[in-house]
Symmetry: C2
DNA sequence: TACTAATTGGTAACATATCTCAAGATAAGT
DNA sequence: ACTTATCTTGAGATATGTTACCAATTAGTA
């Protein structure tokens, strides 16, 4: 009889993880698909979604549900914050100390059992900030 | 000649705003659609999307792009943070002081022009926290 | 090597959000 | 109140992002 639910090491999974580790950006499933397809042209989009989801469930990678409609994925699993460009949607890491204390503040301010938090900064990235197009920026 | 671009006051817009003001949750466009449809059964989903988007552009309401794939809308426009239930997806306000200082920290830590930030706490809401189903909770 | 269950690729289905456009409604002037 | 110009609506079509389905393939084990 076989062991229950051991995640098999497939070429697809390996390459998806490898490609994700290569970049510091936070690609969407589609972007990962494009990256992986250069090495595995026949891979299916479903496979990419399936595995990104799986790997995020097991904690191998991080699924970011930040602003914007698409999910993004991150191979850096240690807690950290993000900044998102309002113009192009790009997401980068922000290395500032984790604000542990605010969890307690929050717990006192609501009826939730607080398990964690995430901070997302918004702004303009290096490229988009150069040409200062007047945009109504709320928050 | 007519004034340029004055947002007209239509029944649909009024009711959408009224319904949004009634709730403290942060409904998705679809949820707003359901709420509004009770009073305006013939309203189209497109109209709801269109107007929520419009109203958020003019600053009348707030468009939250928090975790989860759907956009959510909030009639409270003063800056505040949110908590999201990992179980049911519900989103509530958290009334803790705005952490203004971290914007400067962030600005120093990256090459973005920082314009703002949002903190989203994750946890279990009153209802979901009661029946402690063992869930793998990352972050 | 052969077996068994997990995994894949391709496609269809689904969910969410936006676009199109004729018909209807609003605001301003008469 | 009537007219007109323009904005807005509703309904469906379309686009985008994600998941489900299933026969064929593959990894891990004996």
């Amino acid at each position: 009889m076989q062991e229950h639910n051991p995640m098999r090491i497939t070429t697809q999974r390996q390459i998806i993880l490898e490609e994700l580790l290569k970049v510091t950006s936070h690609p969407t499933a589609n972007e990962v698909y494009d990256m992986v397809r250069k090495r595995l042209p026949r891979i299916g989009l479903g496979t990419v979604y399936r595995n990104l989801e799986l790997m995020s469930e097991t904690g191998m990678i991080l699924k970011l549900e930040v602003g914007g409609t698409q999910k993004r994925f991150d191979a850096t699993v240690t807690p950290h914050y993000h900044v998102r460009c309002m113009e192009c949607g790009r997401v980068d890491d922000i290395k500032i100390p984790i604000q542990d204390d605010i969890n307690e503040l929050a717990a006192e301010a609501c009826h939730y059992q607080i398990l964690g938090h995430h901070i997302e900064f918004t702004g303009l990235c290096g490229d988009c900030g150069k040409s200062p197009q007047q945009k109504t920026s709320i928050n």
